[in-house]
């Protein structure tokens, strides 16, 4: 059973703002029956067409999809369109006291519907694939054909939620969750987003304290190295860090693998690139 917060349960059992607004100023529709969840969001604006005075929804989907829709409509009432455009999926999840990671796509769906509605009202393109019932112009190239998701949309979700594995991208957007054909492309997008972020942040500081270096080594192994090993059924464990010497033990498919020497080189290369150029990696049994 999903570990839903009391707030998710409460919004699922007593959803706010269910229904439609017949004279809505903006309507955003995302998802489909085939996808397993869908949300139709109705927005009514004030006379100046700036501030949201009412919001209603119709949702087909699981408990967290209904709760996220309810939360979204509560949050945006009273906001200006610019304020509403700035709402992130994380804020929707936070409003509900959090969502299980596998259900984060429900919060993304809410944020998307809002974006589509506002884009339609303003007559601009939305970064989301056009479902047959949705007549919004889209930008970008479709990456996940099963769920109709574009690279522009996926990169936005990867960046704003700081995702670093393909599995997380599936949890947040569903991309790659059906046939799995686009998973290599998703990994490329993650690498691309991370690379852009890295340039911006000017990582790899010139002088590291020992503590910071150890942290960076651990983070790099967790975020950059292990996900790649998992993809081939392997894994590693960090055994010790002694100055610039990093000892790792290979696990699962990597343990005893004929090319573990090559894998150790790969780990070393990553650590040299992202932490410090004088790092040595040593494989140990442990």
């Amino acid at each position: 059973m999903w570990d839903y917060t009391d707030k998710v349960k409460e919004h699922f059992l007593n959803p706010r703002n269910v229904g439609e607004i017949t004279d809505a100023d903006a309507v955003g529709e995302v998802g489909s029956l085939a996808c397993g969840d869908a949300l139709k969001l109705f927005i009514k604006l004030d006379e100046q067409k700036e501030r949201i005075v009412d919001a209603k929804f119709q949702t087909f989907g699981c408990g967290s999809a209904i709760a996220s829709s309810s939360a979204l409509t509560e949050m945006v009432k009273g906001m200006t369109l610019d304020e509403a455009m700035a709402v992130t999926n994380q804020e929707i999840a936070d409003f509900l006291g959090g969502l299980p990671e596998e259900k984060m796509h429900c919060s993304v769906m809410g944020q998307e519907a809002l974006e589509v509605a506002i884009a339609k009202f303003r007559g601009v393109a939305a970064p989301k694939h056009d479902h047959s019932h949705d007549h919004v112009e889209t930008e970008g190239e479709v990456v996940c054909k099963c769920f109709g998701l574009t690279d522009v949309f996926l990169k936005k979700v990867i960046l704003s939620n700081k995702l670093h594995t393909a599995e997380q991208v599936t949890h947040f957007t569903k991309a790659g969750g059906a046939c799995g054909g686009c998973i290599p492309k998703i990994k490329e997008l993650i690498a691309e987003v991370m690379g852009e972020e890295k340039k911006a942040a000017q990582e790899k500081p010139a002088k590291l304290t020992n503590l910071r270096k150890m942290q960076l080594i651990q983070e790099t192994l967790e975020n950059e190295v292990r996900p790649q090993l998992w993809a081939d059924g392997g894994d590693l464990e960090l055994i010790d860090i002694d100055g610039n010497n990093v000892q790792v033990a290979f696990r699962k498919a990597c343990a005893g693998c004929a090319s573990s020497g090559y894998t150790a080189k790969f780990v070393e290369q990553k650590l040299r690139e992202l932490v410090s150029s004088d790092i040595n990696v040593q494989e140990v049994q442990g």
Binding site: A38, Q58, T59, F60, C62, I66
Partner: protein
């Protein structure tokens, strides 16, 4: 809140008579059946008795019964054994609707260079025996087909399938986890080589299973070590659970008529009334022969998890073939293989009854489910044109 438990294909209540039977074998009669002393010997006798009881339910011989830790272990051992017995054969046949215990193993085999044929099913979940016959060739080591489907209850014509497979020289295994105790089986007059069952699906505890291996069928163990189970499954016997399994099989034998009588009548009534009260439903596998205890009902324009959560609020425990409940993103592989239309694949709910189910519990579902579906349909953006006509 008292639970209304209609998820017996997931797991069952341990029958109190079963629990009483196993109770002494933990703190008092804890001996090892392999020991030479009287204290182990008396446990050995009870394990033998349990073996006899399981054999009686299956119409098998006691030495054809191998106790395992679960249905999954039984399935895994059967298929692995066949591949070891016939190392030169590189082909396996199964179906698209198998339990993951079989299907995942078969799909992993493709990575090791095996050819795996997954037989299709029709819209009612039925197998095409001609497709089976065409699929099996001299390269086929084993065919593994489930006796009855856990999601829909659809029963495959396993005896006919086994005869076809045997005639072509391959081994035949069936995952009968859902069928045992619900429909009569008689291994004495069967062509099945190996058959899996699981304790917790028939009112024994979790953590015990059985693999039936016909006399004369070549077998290689998956677990090696001690001589237990005549060398076919090493490891000290899970004595309490094995003794429980024996009792559960004895009781299943006793209650078999009730399954096909009273349980079937309750299931049929539930199906009839829900179909009458809720518009736009379909019964998954409704046109096929089915287990007497299983009802898989698909409802258009709603999603299964919401239904289950609202049922759960009323104390009703059921399960769903929808994506959202399992953490996967697609409807169940069984419903997809059957080609259930996507308008209702996400809204499929399974009710599975047992001999402990009462008429009052069925009444509760008939009362609670229709308003839940109406409520979720009123909230859904789909099917509004159709609903406005209601």
């Amino acid at each position: 809140m008292k639970e209304i438990y209609l998820d017996n294909n997931a797991t069952t209540k341990v029958d109190e008579r079963v629990f009483e039977e196993m109770r002494p074998y933990f703190c008092e009669l804890y001996g090892n059946p392999s020991s030479m002393h009287f204290f182990g010997g008396q446990v050995q006798k009870k394990v033998d008795e349990a073996r006899g009881r399981v054999a009686a339910l299956l119409g098998a011989l006691p030495d054809e019964i191998v106790f395992t830790a679960c249905g999954t272990e039984s399935d895994n051992s059967a298929i692995r054994s066949a591949l070891e017995v016939f190392p030169e054969k590189r082909h396996v046949v199964t179906s698209r609707v198998e339990h993951p215990a079989v299907l995942t193993q078969c799909r992993n085999l493709t990575k090791r260079g095996y050819r795996v044929t997954e037989l299709n099913v029709d819209g009612e979940g039925r197998l095409d025996l001609k497709e089976l016959e065409a699929a099996v060739d001299e390269d086929t080591a084993i065919v593994s087909l489930m006796y009855a489907n856990n999601e829909t209850g659809v029963v495959f014509p396993i005896e006919e399938a086994a005869r076809i497979v045997k005639a072509k020289g391959a081994l035949f295994h069936t995952d009968a986890v859902q069928a045992v105790g619900k429909i009569p089986l008689n291994m004495a007059e069967s062509s099945i080589d190996m058959l899996s069952l699981s304790g917790h699906k028939l009112h024994a505890p979790k953590g015990v299973g059985v693999l039936y291996v016909r006399r004369g069928t070549p077998f290689r163990p998956m677990l090696v070590g001690g001589h237990q189970e005549r060398g076919r499954r090493a490891g000290t016997e899970n004595t309490g659970s094995i003794i429980a399994m024996g009792k559960a099989c004895e009781l299943a034998h006793l209650h078999m008529d009730e399954e096909s009588g009273r349980v079937r009548q309750m299931r049929d009534r539930l199906e009839r009334e829900l179909t009458a009260l809720i518009p736009n439903t379909r019964i998954n596998g409704g046109g096929a022969e089915r287990l007497p205890n299983t009802l898989s009902i698909a409802m258009e324009f709603v999603e299964g998890e919401g239904i289950l959560l609202l049922l759960s609020e009323k104390g009703i425990c059921a399960s769903s073939g929808s994506a959202c409940t399992s953490g996967s993103l697609e409807p169940s592989h069984v419903l997809r293989a059957m080609g259930v239309p996507f308008t209702c694949a996400h809204g499929s709910i399974r009710f599975s009854l047992s001999r402990f189910t009462t008429d009052a519990e069925i009444d509760a579902v008939i009362k609670e489910l229709p308003p839940i579906i109406k409520r979720l349909r009123d909230m859904s953006p789909f099917g509004r044109e159709f609903l406005s006509k209601q």
